[in-house]
């Protein structure tokens, strides 16, 4: 196997907390607490898990949009953990992120046109008429009319904004895209279009995705391997099929059991309140080839 595109080793991100008028420091929030993963070229790694378990933080940390507090990140064979912002700049062309919050990640003062032309400008890829053409192409790609270029973010619906965020991340055709809930605000038909698009691009250009989603149907459609996170740690990591049909960790099983079915009168989901205790170490045990599970002490 060749060297992975991305390799995380014991990645940690702890947020300091401050409370009260004097802003005294409290115990840090361990948003990401020792994650080790690797992503191969052209692979789609799904990242699922409980809300607030640190998926977005992991995503942002991979791209060094927040500085990790521990561990290391290797990207394209280089350890970028300590790289300065300045040094990261050229590398940005190779790694992009689709933000979970489409609203906050679009500058409200800029038109969609200027938001979408930014990547081209920054990396000196296109200018003038070509730039306009490229922007129009991006818009078309995500199912928005070219006139959208002249409007501002607040004039769009949630899903439309999300598509603008996707278009922006795709603009540079980066090696790696961290897609944080890229399709959550889209209706299923457009969601299907976008997912097909992502898959097509992957096939054509060899893109690699870290795909964060709560929609397990989508995960199952697009991912090769899936990592399940729980409280800042990966509890299970497995190839798609193994994960969906041979889940080992109780949390994973619980998740799978809770997927809503688009069938009326289907039995109501029941959320198990069974508890288990996570093991102390972040170590994963390989239970089958490529199938890792964290230590746990569970009733099941």
């Amino acid at each position: 196997m060749s060297e992975p595109l991305l390799e995380l080793r014991d990645l940690q991100k702890h947020y300091p907390t401050r409370h009260g008028l004097l802003r005294r420091a409290g115990a840090p929030v361990k948003a990401v607490d020792g994650i080790s993963l690797s992503v191969q070229h052209g692979e789609v790694l799904g990242l699922v898990g409980e809300s607030g378990c640190g998926k977005s933080t992991t995503g942002k940390t991979i791209l060094k949009l927040t500085e990790p507090t521990g561990g290391s990140i290797r990207f394209m064979g280089e350890d970028i953990t300590r790289w300065s912002r300045q040094r990261m700049l050229p590398l940005r062309r190779q790694m992009q992120i689709i933000f979970q919050d489409p609203n906050g990640s679009l500058n409200p003062r800029h038109s969609i046109g200027s938001i979408l032309s930014a990547p081209f400008e920054i990396h000196g890829i296109a200018r003038g008429a070509e730039l306009a053409e490229r922007v129009a192409a991006l818009l078309r790609m995500v199912g928005l009319p070219p006139e959208a270029a002249q409007r501002h973010p607040h004039e769009f619906s949630g899903g439309q904004r999300q598509r603008i965020g996707i278009a922006r991340a795709l603009a540079l055709r980066p090696r790696l895209i961290v897609a944080d809930e890229p399709v959550s605000a889209l209706d299923v038909s457009i969601q299907a279009q976008i997912i097909n698009l992502l898959q097509r691009l992957r096939a054509e250009l060899g893109l690699t995705y870290v795909f964060i989603s709560h929609n397990l149907g989508v995960i199952s459609q697009i991912c090769d391997r899936v990592a399940v996170m729980y409280r800042g740690r990966v509890v299970e990591l497995a190839p798609r099929e193994a994960l969906f049909f041979d889940a080992r960790h109780p949390y994973t099983r619980m998740l799978l059991a809770a997927v809503p079915q688009p069938v009326p009168d289907a039995p109501r989901r029941t959320v198990s309140t069974e508890a288990w205790t996570a093991g102390e170490s972040a170590l994963l045990r390989e239970v089958a080839p490529g199938h890792f599970v964290a230590d746990h002490d569970s009733p099941g």
């Binding site: 791209l63 940005r92 500058n107 409200p108």
Partner: protein, 291 residues
């Protein structure tokens, strides 16, 4: 900035359209342009030489005589001509000082706010240093070293009054820089310069534009003050500010001497204010206009 194309991308035309749709902004633009034109073409319009005096005709009231439509001042100079010529000084000072203030203040504010750390500490301590000296002191001392020309005086005024702008801009940037769209720009590989000037500044535009308006007024008045202290325009050259100052003694007996230049300053400031408002509305797509 390197890529104005992007600014113009749709936004340019749209900005212009939004702006043109803003009646008040249009009004502001017209006022400013008219005043500037009047000052520029003063030699063609002015009925008299602005320094020509005839003490026997002093204190002529406005609208009394065809030769002196706006009357005469305390030594019989034609008020209209002085207002026209004075506009050259006052508008230059107002505009140049305002631009200097805003550019310096906004740049320093955004640099300090975004880069943070020691850059912030250094710049803000510099701001503090500047604030430690009352503006009059700075003005006088600097003016004493630099020969007072119109331009240098405007620059001096501008360079001694940007501190509040920088602090305000910094305070805005401090929370803006934590927002996702800044992260997004960083993720795209945007340089700090681009982030500061393309992403952050437009979001801090509102207070900057307010400051710009206020600075026009204060610069015009400040000019008269340094002239009063002997470092600015020398008599008998007119500026709106020094016309006001000279009229101080006659505020109750010959009020129009102060009112006329005061009204022109007000008009200028209003013009700039509405221009600024229009620009802000145009820059801020969320503020939709009322018709």
């Amino acid at each position: 900035m390197t890529a104005t194309v992007a600014v113009n991308f749709g936004a340019g035309r749209r900005l212009a359209r939004r702006f043109a749709g803003h009646r008040l902004a249009l009004f502001g633009a017209v006022v400013v342009v008219l005043l500037c034109a009047a000052a520029l073409f003063a030699p063609l319009i002015a009925p008299h030489d602005p320094v020509e005096l005839d003490t026997s005709l002093r204190f002529m009231a406005p609208f009394q005589s065809a030769t002196h439509p706006l009357g005469t001042d305390e030594i019989g100079r034609d008020t209209l001509s002085r207002l026209l010529y004075g506009g050259r000084v006052s508008l230059t000072v107002g505009l140049v000082a305002m631009l200097t203030t805003v550019l310096t203040g906004a740049s320093i504010g955004v640099l300090a706010g975004y880069l943070g750390g020691w850059v912030d500490a250094l710049l803000m301590r510099f701001v503090d240093t500047m604030l430690c000296f009352p503006q009059v002191f700075l003005l006088l001392v600097i003016a004493a070293f630099i020969p007072p020309t119109l331009l240098s005086m405007s620059l001096i005024i501008g360079l001694t009054s940007w501190m509040e702008v920088s602090r305000i801009v910094r305070s805005e940037v401090l929370h803006l820089r934590e927002q996702d769209f800044i992260l997004a720009a960083r993720a795209l590989g945007a340089s700090s310069g681009r982030i500061m000037f393309r992403e952050l500044l437009p979001n801090a535009a509102a207070p900057i534009l307010v400051a710009a308006t206020l600075k026009v007024a204060s610069a015009v008045l400040m000019e008269s003050y340094i002239s009063y202290l002997g470092y600015g325009v020398q008599p008998p050259l007119a500026s709106w500010g020094n016309m006001l100052t000279n009229a101080q003694g006659y505020f109750d007996t010959v009020p129009w001497l102060a009112v006329l230049p005061g009204v022109l300053i007000t008009l200028t400031v209003m013009g700039f204010n509405f221009l600024g408002d229009g620009l802000r509305d145009a820059l801020d797509p969320r503020l939709t206009l009322n018709r």
